[in-house]
């Protein structure tokens, strides 16, 4: 990457400007209602975390360069320029204090999609050199090593061996011409290998042909989080190349929120063309298997449990019904949180916040929102479908001394699988 400067940042801001962003800035009346939808404001009471305020640098670029009146004000010296100092000050608001959860975009009375703007504003921050060290490191590792956590294929190969030994099943690697290519997040490889085993068992039962690519198994995309299209494009491209090489019909996005946004919604636009394959989220695929009778489960979990909707999969991904359809198969005492589905509250660690070490204290503080939601329900188990949410929630629960196990939905289904014992 070339050296980050304010000028490059300004150019990146300009490249992001489009009609939606201009209409949003034109419409904001500073009513402040977005603050009440943001856990960073509700849990801290600090008005600087008001979502629209996090966009002040981008707003200035819009006003000064994309409106006639703003240009006049600039000429008369009546406007405040975007400076290094401004970006430095705002860096913590736009990175530490926003998880791109998109809840604010659901409540704005004039209809502003604020998280859309934040995703775009981050492009300018990265180009100007103002992004958190933790996220820079994750991006660097993703590009050079292939994983934000530095996981290389040998580590996955070792996990595959373990899973194969435990389950007696074979995990297909680099098999050409199968229907599905499964992606994994580094967290699933290192922290939750249960997911891989669950996939193998479910796919065997359902007769799904699948493979993992040794060249592109990583689903996460640090470029999307830090806001660098260049990095994001590079990472998406690896998956596209591998999927096209293996001639699969589908790529499966795993239990990871932003990975789905990256590969499903942003990916084709990053590479500038539609894919030759389709992208499905694992929950969408499992729900399809359920509907067609290929996913069979037995027994019901009778503990009182709830589902945490990962923002990027549900509110911003549109996978709304599958998690509940699937939960109903295996849980009799499922209850929804007060604000569920597309109005769910973020775990506090999305959008790269969990990769940003300096944001840890703030992240644990805003976890109080999730704690409040859980306290209202008095549940014994929390189910989710994002490895990042899962880890962030586990840390939050530990911080607040709450003993609620957190389970991935796919592995929960696998536990109730009716398995063919004929072999």
């Amino acid at each position: 990457m070339s050296e980050a400067t304010l000028e490059r940042g300004m150019n990146a801001f300009r490249e992001q400007m489009d009609a939606p962003i201009a209409s949003f800035f034109s419409s904001c009346v500073n009513c402040g209602m977005c603050a009440e939808a943001c856990l960073f404001y509700t849990e801290t009471g600090d008005p600087r975390y008001t979502p629209i305020n996090k966009l002040e640098p981008l707003r200035r670029v819009w006003e000064q360069e994309y409106t006639l009146w703003g240009k006049v004000k600039s000429v008369l010296g009546l406007s405040q320029p975007v400076t290094d100092e401004l970006l430095e000050e705002w860096e913590s608001l736009i990175y530490d204090g926003c998880t791109l959860c998109g809840r604010c975009s659901m409540v704005c009375p004039v209809g502003n999609d604020i998280s859309y703007m934040i995703r775009h504003a981050r492009e300018g921050f990265v180009a100007a050199g103002y992004s958190p060290e933790g996220m820079k490191g994750a991006s660097r590792r993703a590009v050079t090593i292939g994983s934000p956590m530095g996981v290389k294929y040998p580590a996955l190969a070792a996990q595959i061996k373990h899973v194969e030994a435990d389950s007696g099943l074979q995990i297909p690697v680099d098999v050409e011409g199968v229907d599905y290519m499964a992606l994994l997040s580094s967290m699933e490889i290192m922290n939750f290998p249960e997911y891989l085993e669950a996939l193998a068992r479910i796919f065997k039962q359902a007769g799904v042909t699948w493979t993992i690519s040794s060249e592109a198994f990583e689903a996460t995309n640090a470029g999307i989080q830090i806001g660098s299209s260049d990095i994001a494009r590079e990472l998406v491209n690896r998956v596209v190349v591998a999927a096209e090489k293996l001639k699969v019909k589908y790529v499966i996005s795993p239990e990871c929120g932003h990975a789905y946004t990256a590969i499903r919604w942003e990916g084709p636009n990053l590479i500038g063309r539609p894919y030759s394959f389709k992208v499905v989220h694992i929950l969408e695929l499992l729900d399809e298997l359920r509907a067609s009778g290929r996913l069979k489960t037995e027994g019901m979990d009778e503990t009182r449990l709830t589902f945490h909707d990962p923002c990027q999969i549900v509110r911003k991904g549109g996978v709304l019904e599958p998690p509940r359809n699937l939960l109903k198969m295996v849980a009799s005492e499922f209850v929804d949180m007060h604000d569920a589905r597309e109005m769910n509250w973020c775990c506090g660690g999305g959008g790269g916040v969990s990769a940003n070490e300096r944001a840890e204290e703030l992240r644990l503080k805003v976890f109080k929102r999730k704690k409040t939601q859980l306290d209202e329900l008095n549940v014994e188990t929390l189910v989710t479908a994002c490895a990042n949410c899962r880890l962030v929630i586990e840390e939050g629960l530990e911080e607040y001394r709450m003993e609620i196990p957190v389970v991935g939905l796919t592995e929960m289904l696998a536990e109730h699988l009716v398995e063919d014992k004929s072999e």
């Binding site: 034109s26 939808a37 509700t42």
Partner: protein, 220 residues
């Protein structure tokens, strides 16, 4: 009294023409500034259609999301009251309708003047309360700059001058009416260059919001 009559004639004549030209050209420029930027093509396979979802959000955002209403009841209720009150005063007061009819030939039934009077009083009180809220609520106070107070002022001035003129509280009457019209002209001139533009751009914003979410299969 010739000076107040002259003043009235000016605000009704050249003054109004100037304000109208600035208002109309300003709005067209502002809308073009937004729309000309366009959108990049989206290559991701859509899950839902943009059009229906966009139009739906255009309507549904008029009602607050439940949790937001609970957390910002004053902003929501106050916002409704003064917007509705402002539009009733503007479009259902019979002398206003007659003026519009004389200017562009469109007419519709109005409501009793004393009812408009009551609505105007409530609107003015609500606008004052909204100002206090803006100055005291930590978020609104933090977000607010000169433009927020200027737009408040140019919005309440036509309400106040109209109220004073209706009750003959300024003497002579031509002066009262002239001040009322002038305050409307100030509103019209300020309108295209400030957040007052939201009255036009919110249609675009809501549509984009709904359309982009609808594409992903979410009704925003």
């Amino acid at each position: 009294m010739s000076t107040s009559v002259d003043f009235l004639l000016w605000v009704r004549g050249p003054g109004f023409d100037i304000a109208l030209v600035v208002f109309l050209i300003g709005i067209v420029i502002r809308l073009l500034e937004v729309l000309i930027l366009g959108r990049k093509p989206d290559f991701a396979e859509p899950r839902g259609a943009e059009l229906g979802a966009g139009l739906r959000t255009l309507v549904t955002r008029t009602l607050p999301e439940q949790g937001s209403f609970r957390r910002s009841p004053f902003t929501v209720v106050g916002g409704y009251i003064w917007h509705i009150g402002f539009f009733i005063s503007l479009f259902l007061f019979i002398p206003h309708i007659e003026l519009i009819n004389a200017t562009i030939g469109l007419s519709w039934p109005g409501i009793a003047s004393n009812l408009v009077d009551a609505v105007a009083a409530v609107t003015i009180v609500t606008l004052v309360a909204m100002l206090f809220s803006r100055m005291s609520h930590p978020v609104k106070r933090y977000l607010s700059g000169p433009e927020d107070y200027l737009t408040w002022l140019v919005t309440i001035l036509p309400m106040i001058t109209g109220y004073l003129a209706y009750h003959r509280m300024i003497d002579p009457y031509p002066l009262a009416l002239g001040l009322h019209i002038l305050s409307v002209e100030i509103l019209m001139v300020v309108f295209p260059f400030t957040k007052l533009m939201h009255a036009f751009t919110f249609f675009i914003a809501r549509w984009y919001n709904g359309a982009m979410a609808g594409r992903r299969g979410v009704q925003s």
